[in-house]
Amino acid sequence: MSATSKGRGRAAFTFDIQAIGFSRGDALPESVSQPSPVFPNTDYKPVPLKIGDDEDYMLALKQELRGTMKRMPYFIAAEGEIQAIEKYSFKYKTERDKKLVTEWIPDWRRLPREMKPRKKKKLKVVKQKKTNIPAARSNVDVLKKIEELEKKGDAEKSDEETEEKEKKEDEEEAEEEADAYDEEEQEEENDYISSYFEDGDEFGEGSDDNMDEATY
């Protein structure tokens, strides 16, 4: 290029530098190699805010709305908030919060089924214990044990069969549910929502994981 032969600096431009407002002999501004300041100086002061009854009322509405939202059952505060000094009033606050939480029961008909906290998992844990205990004690009953082992071996062979087995399990579960229906009802009468928080804790157990993968 011809520009390089002319030397360094201003002559490197291929156009008349005066066109963009630099007269002959002016120094070019230094190139900036850092981000612009976080709080740049403003040349003009901002315009004052609109003032009027409308604005005042909207301001009050906004602040009220914000306050009310915090007291609605929809507001889920993080549990990790530990106060530096435990106050006496805190006890009442938590009580009040609990009361608020119980006030809202979502309409499950409008929500996906997976949203609804399930009781099943609780029952399943019980069921597992039931099946395990006889298995452990059935040393005498050799035939049964062999049968079970066979079943296990088959299950591991192919995925299809596991699914089948799961189906069977589900059926069993359904039966058991029917048996345990009264129990469940009693539980519900006590406190429905308290169980809401519990089922998540059990998530992560091996048997559950298997189930869930099958449904996906």
């Binding site: 040349d43 003009y44 901002p46 805010l49 301001l59 889920i76 119980t102 089922d199």
Partner: protein, 537 residues
């Protein structure tokens, strides 16, 4: 979606629904639709908390769900609806001006709860109104509240939420994984027949209150246990606020006030009449209203204004000839047919907003250059210097400043294929749409910054705020027990003078920040509606 939007959404969610909902909501906003397990995994939140947060978000219409092809449910957040939280005060205030206190409370309850059945909303509002009427010992009638509710529905400010598809009766098919929500156009604005008799109850004491709650819970449980035995006739029919309709109202108000400022009160009244006449016949995103003849307009004018037909015709032709082009003439039959160019009006409002932003940020001379380019569409640098009547050096300086702020664009048109600068035209132009987008993003950032600042201010003074709240509570309880004036004084003095000053300063700052948030939202509204009208075909 941009970072500024996500940031603002996240702050709004955190402020109104708490940290967990924010975490879940912001995650779905960022990643798009996601299944439940993945959300729980990616956010590192326990499954039950994610479920709860999603329930809250769905309740408030911020998240919708969909059955994916592979059989699991995916959740999607709507950032535009989250950003609407900022406008809630405006909706409530509009409802107040249109339908009084009852309308205000109905809309407020609906916004606070996301969606509600009519019966619960009416009951709640009646109770709240009764509480305020404590002094005269009267109670609000349910019928009165529900008639306001019906009026809000009739004017489309409230509409029915999509209802889940009812499973065919008698079929033993298992419940679907996710209910399919359908809107029926027919039922959207039909109110179920409800005979609500009774009056709002007043909360008397805490014992009473508890009883109420317990009974309420019981009824809810009964309802849940036996769906066939419905306790409320409108069970399952939910209503939500129609933000589109509110936006239509805001837009109309903006057009009317623009006309009032540009011309006079009478012409704004004429435009108001025209807009009211076409409110029902024109869809909210139409480019212009249905044509109205001047005779029709004359008949619908409010009686308070004594405008003769002749004067009206003069006003109409004046409005039609105005360079603003808010009102257009579409035909000559029936004494002249007139329309209101809604899209044109929004574009004018948006460019006026841009102009005023340039003026307030860069000064009136820059604004002159900006307006000049806006009007002439394309100008060379030399022409700008000449037409703007600003010294050439200054004009260049301002032009480059506007260019670097992306408010002005530069178009190269080479005369020869080698793009040599000396043989190229450089044309400056203003692209209103892209500048509006730029400004809109900046507005989102502004609001996010304002919220951050407000949170910072309140955090800094947290101890002081708690103290003043406690002292207020003590004073209130002492007044209730009938304490002496001197005792009250003593307690009041527990807040020292400097502390009082600090509290006042804090209150002033928070108020100012809140007011700014409200007012930035007005600009956001104008820009958003302009962008949405000009991008839609």
């Amino acid at each position: 979606m941009t970072q500024a939007e996500i940031k603002l959404c996240s702050l709004l969610l955190q402020e109104h629904f708490g940290e967990i909902v924010d975490k879940v909501g912001a995650h779905i906003l960022q990643t798009g639709s996601q299944p439940l397990r993945l959300i729980s995994n990616d956010t590192g939140t326990p499954l039950d908390q994610v479920k709860k947060a999603l329930c809250v978000l769905i309740q408030h219409n911020l998240v919708s769900y969909q059955l994916s092809k592979r059989g699991f449910v995916e959740y999607e957040a709507h950032h535009d609806r989250v950003l609407r939280i900022l406008r809630y005060p405006h909706y409530i205030y509009t409802a107040k001006t249109l339908y009084g206190d009852t309308g205000e409370l109905i809309v407020e309850e609906l916004l606070l709860n996301g969606k509600m059945t009519m019966s619960t909303a009416v009951k709640k509002v009646a109770d709240r109104l009764t509480e305020t009427m404590e002094a005269d010992g009267k109670a609000m009638d349910y019928g009165e509240v529900s008639s306001t509710f019906v009026r809000l529905v009739d004017t489309h400010f409230i509409y029915r939420c999509p209802a889940p598809l009812e499973p065919p009766e008698g079929a033993a098919a298992p419940a679907p994984v996710a209910p399919l929500l359908l809107t029926s156009e027919k039922d959207m604005y039909t109110v179920p027949k409800l005979s609500m008799i009774g009056k709002g109850k007043r909360r008397r004491s805490s014992d009473d209150d508890d009883d109420d709650d317990a009974s309420e819970q019981q009824t809810k449980r009964q309802k849940k246990e036996a769906d066939s035995k419905e306790t409320l006739p409108d069970d399952g029919i939910y209503w939500q606020v129609n933000t589109e309709r509110f936006h239509q109202h805001f837009r109309d108000q903006a057009v009317i006030s623009a006309i009032a400022n540009k011309m006079d009160q009478i012409s704004s009244e004429i435009v108001r009449t025209m807009l009211r006449m076409s409110e029902v016949t024109t869809s909210s995103n139409a480019a212009h209203t249905q044509p109205l003849s001047s005779n029709e307009i004359f008949r619908s004018l409010p009686t308070g204004y004594n405008i003769s037909k002749q004067v009206l015709d003069q006003y109409l032709s004046l409005l039609a000839d105005d360079p603003l082009e808010f009102v257009g003439r579409s035909g000559d039959s029936g004494g002249g047919m007139f329309v209101i160019n809604l899209h044109k009006a929004l574009a004018t409002l948006a460019s006026a907003t841009l102009e005023s932003v340039v003026q307030e940020r860069f000064g009136s001379r820059c604004a002159r250059i900006f307006r000049l380019i806006l009007r002439k569409r394309h100008l060379e640098q030399k022409q700008v210097e000449d037409f703007a009547m600003v010294p050439a050096k200054e004009a260049k300086d301002m032009l480059y400043k506007l260019l670097s702020e992306n408010l002005v664009t530069l178009q190269e048109i080479p005369k020869t294929p080698d793009h040599a600068p000396s043989r190229t035209f450089y044309l400056y132009a203003v692209n209103i749409l892209s500048s509006s987008r730029l400004l809109l993003q900046r507005c989102y950032k502004t609001v996010a910054n304002l919220i951050e600042r407000r949170l910072f201010e309140t955090k800094e003074n947290k101890r002081l705020l708690e103290k003043s709240q406690r002292i207020e509570a003590i004073i209130a309880s002492m007044q209730a027990t009938g304490a002496e004036e001197a005792q009250l004084q003593e307690i009041e003095e527990m807040i020292t003078a400097p502390e009082r000053q600090q509290l006042e300063a804090l209150k002033r700052n928070v108020n100012r920040i809140d007011a700014s948030e409200n007012q930035v939202d007005e600009t956001i509204f104008i820009l958003e509606s302009y962008i949405s009208t000009s991008t839609k075909p």
